[in-house]
Symmetry: D3
Subunit: 248 residues, 6 copies
């Protein structure tokens, strides 16, 4: 299978982190292609930035339509995920959704470790939109200014470990999600140092995309995830227009 992984941030350093972790976990016959947003911000932490990232991700997905078997939106918060599920014939997976659905099979109550305070309210809304707010224990977060999204793991390793432990001991988490592409791979690094299972977003996303392609469950032809109906449109970038002009 061919998997298109879209980084909705403009940071190549984060794309590199994602790619490394994705290649490590992917099955031998999964071909990975990376794409980095051409427009947007260095690192999405807010609803406004997610709007920008969603638009950039949809544009990339549209430009390459027909050349992949599944798409992974590789930013926590899953910018553009439900929109692309409608517009594409192939499975579309998000890091938040995939890691939540994975974690939910490893324990009952889930805590998320995030890289900034600002991001947590929006993450909570994402969990709610997945329908799993009742299983969220807490979202804990770093509280320092970040030098570079590409070096968060190295810069804040001890604090990330401490936040994880607090989530287990004080919040009753049965399982943890290390949230955000900048933390890709950290679950592997921390293996053995935490008292509960730890889920990585990129790895979960790649594996869940492989599941959906393997199951071949079919594209919705009716209902709210069918392709949008054809209708007049204007002013769209080619990638976006491509997603509206094809026959259903």
């Amino acid at each position: 299978m061919k998997l298109l992984i879209i980084n909705p941030n403009i940071s190549q350093s984060v794309t590199d982190l994602i790619e490394a972790e994705a290649r490590r976990v992917a099955a031998a016959d999964t071909l990975i292609e990376m794409a980095t947003a051409r427009s947007g911000v260095a690192y999405i932490e807010t609803r406004f930035e997610a709007l920008l990232g969603a638009h950039a991700a949809a544009t990339l997905a549209g430009e390459r339509v027909g050349h992949y078997d599944a798409v992974l939106i590789a930013a926590f918060g899953d910018p553009g995920l439900p929109a692309l599920k409608e517009a594409l014939e192939v499975p579309v997976v998000g890091m938040t959704e995939a890691s939540l659905m994975t974690a939910a099979q490893l324990g009952q109550r889930i805590s998320i470790i995030a890289i900034s305070r600002r991001i947590t309210a929006w993450y909570r809304e994402c969990v709610d939109q997945c329908g799993l707010l009742g299983r969220l224990a807490t979202i804990r977060h770093l509280d320092a200014a970040l030098r570079d999204p590409g070096s968060v793991q190295a810069d804040h390793a001890a604090r990330l470990l401490e936040l994880s432990r607090l989530a287990v001991e004080q919040d009753g988490a049965d399982v943890l999600i290390l949230a955000g592409a900048p933390l890709a791979g950290l679950a592997r690094t921390l293996a053995g140092q935490l008292p509960v299972p730890v889920v990585d977003g990129v790895s979960s996303g790649v594996c869940q995309a492989q599941v959906l392609v393997r199951l071949n469950a079919g594209k919705a032809l009716q209902g709210s995830f069918a392709r949008p109906p054809k209708k007049p449109h204007a002013g769209l970038a080619d990638g976006l227009a491509a997603l509206l002009q094809r026959d259903a």
Copy 2:
């Protein structure tokens, strides 16, 4: 006060409908300025189309920043609403949110009358994101193909009235929302023909925007609705970049 009303659809006929109803209900000292999306689709019914509308609406809001006291996103589903609440210093109101918060003061259980089947699943998610799913009785909808979003009211008047009555008699609705900009003004037309209060989205939006400006409650400087933090960005239209470059 100056109120910028943004139609996130590209249909001028719908903008005209919105403007007529907005001017009818607005206070004498409310100056209304209309803006129509330059990119997107004729009528938003899906999550993908809402992504396009959100981007177009944010671009328009950014281009005119500083020239209005409040913004009304004049499409049901409120494309871009939470993002713009972060990015702008002034109140931003959405037709769905405003009509739900208005209707919630007129009765306990709310039904929504929509103009297509396709749109209903997404509307339900919007009500959920407003936190009011527990007060939603039903969403009923037209089930015929629409000739033109500008003439839905005239083309389907009898059926819209019937759907409204069924929502009251069979679903237990205490109050109705006629949803979608193409139904702007219909609540006024149906006055006296329905057994429960009926709320219009455009009118609710204009009135609630006036309330928020009058109350002058202040812009968030902290928390998840503060302005997005300054950071590197790229590839954005001028209007969008304008919203990121200013000092908080």
Copy 3:
């Protein structure tokens, strides 16, 4: 429009506070008439006291029926609100409901600042009955004995400000409600000192009543907010009997 504002407490000093703030915010063509409960307690903090206040408020509303275009129940907790929505032909607004529906448009998660510990459990139930418990961050409260409901603001200004800041910084509130008629006007006083929007109950109530009158959405003739059906009754004060004896 003529707006009847009912203080369900017997305290004239609180009525004066309410009136001052109401006149400050009301539109030029809104005529305000105040009424103070003739029976009940000095300041409602409990469910039992709310039962007394509801009865007193309904009696006042019934005595003056036909002489106003809308009613504002001007105590947090909205004593008698759903009952009066049934019994009256005109819109009835409550301070809690109006401030919640206003605040819900200014941020996602709402904290309430209350004037006593005792009152908080009941306030939480009120938020739940509005259907917005999912959007409540916390209710924080003063914990000192109150000299006089009319001087709470002056006596406890610094602590009220601190509670507000804690709600933002520790509880993740995006918007605050200063709850209870004794805090009427405090939001205005604190303008500029708090990092998120602050909503005042009286001002919200007056503005939302104006919205409902302007929208002229109609009185329920069917469903659970229609007038109560005519049936035998006995032993009621004139104001209450007046609400049962009229033709629907």
Copy 4:
């Protein structure tokens, strides 16, 4: 134990029905005293009528304070229940709450059979306030005008049986509640004719009151069900004033 049973309706015929069923189910050492509201309506079906019934019930409970070991509010909807739990030292039980908590031990999903359409929206709110909305299957109801609350059972026996069966077969109810004092005793009459357990409100109320007295769990001295704090009051009937003037 002495059990005061208050009918918040003014109908002596309903009081008689309640008394008959209560005496049939009560333990040998339970002394029952009946009280009928002196003010209010013949049969409570609306939130406004419940406000009247709550006031009348509280007045009766206050007049006889000290002369009973528990109170049963014998109208579905439990007018005044939370208020009286605060104000009295002894357990206060409501027909809705008692029958819900009883039914919840007999099956997972509960349907309620009600005597009018009008009453159902308010009943649903009562179930919600008990926190058991998630266990409510449906509320089904008679839809004919009622001659007399005292003869509903005889007049509509066949339809009540049919509604009960529909709740089981179509709505998935595991257990039924026959709601409203006018249906007191019907569960006994229908014994053997229904395919699931059926719960009677009056019987549940008497039995649960006996449980609470037997357990002797104590009166709240702190928290939201402690006695209301002493404070100035005015204009109250003697029974109500009595509840405010005692030492905690």
Copy 5:
């Protein structure tokens, strides 16, 4: 009535505690028969141990079928409760369910005091399955190793009292449940020392079983609590097979 009380733990010392409290509270005409699990663990704290306890309890109930009018599963967490409600013709009561439904009539928000940290996550799930999670304030717990489930009360009296007070003062509990058979009778011991009503699991269970027998509401013949349909089975202990082989 004959009440079979099953201790799903293998500890005779806990059975003795349960029996003493049960006999203290039972009505004069309630005949109590005790049964202790022959297989399982000394004290159930986990979902796996509850699986063992459920099987042991069902076996005991099946062996004695026909010789009791009601069953009380006398371990918090109610192992096997919904299964036995299906399989038996008589009411089956659980300590968790009975104490929750009792406590819910004494206050709005409930806190549970538990005897180990490990047990709390599972207890929370039990409250959720009862549908009352919305009324749970907190679960507080001892955090020391337990010498013997039979002496927990004596060993940790002061800490249990402190936890109870914290639940009221910091968590807003209106009513407390002392959870787990090892705490049977402690509510009586603490009478007068706590500021809110305290509910005992064994006492609640006995009293609620008496209520259900007295109400004689009938066994489900349809729906999800009817007897399981007859079908091939194999390899079951006699007690379990007995529950499957009888005619419905």
Copy 6:
């Protein structure tokens, strides 16, 4: 990896169905070992039968402990799933949980197609325990007596297809789950005949087990999914005792 698939029913014909579908979907390097319950019933449809199946499944898992890398509980309703997650060091997957978490990535609202009416109430509770009740559209079911669980697909093909279509057209399902081991493989058979994605329980279970093994997230050493603490036990079958006696 070695995957132990446990059929908690005693029907070898169903085990064969499961095995065929599991081998079809499994990765080349997944070694599948089947186990059929030695005790219990032919087909689990009730909570009581699930208690039997949970015990049988746990016994089998315990007997073979150390000889597999993951376990799949291959009956809808997931008998014993949370208990085995505690007791085993390796991932344990259930058909319900795995298909829900898979389906949740393919659409927002999920409908389940079940093979009997009796089973639906219990399935609904399973969805609730997974925390996804908010995403459940409906559970539709066959309503005829079943000849043989092994031939349900062949006997009722047309009706199963019709139920699936109704779930999409009338209930708003975006994705379907064909529930119960007897329907294993039907999703593949129906491919192309349904307008939305269809998820198979066995296939989802195998694929999700592969994901969890691949991610290697670790076993809980603390919290509610750690191994049960060592303590006295008695009377357990060897397989069950084996799960309690090992060092954590």
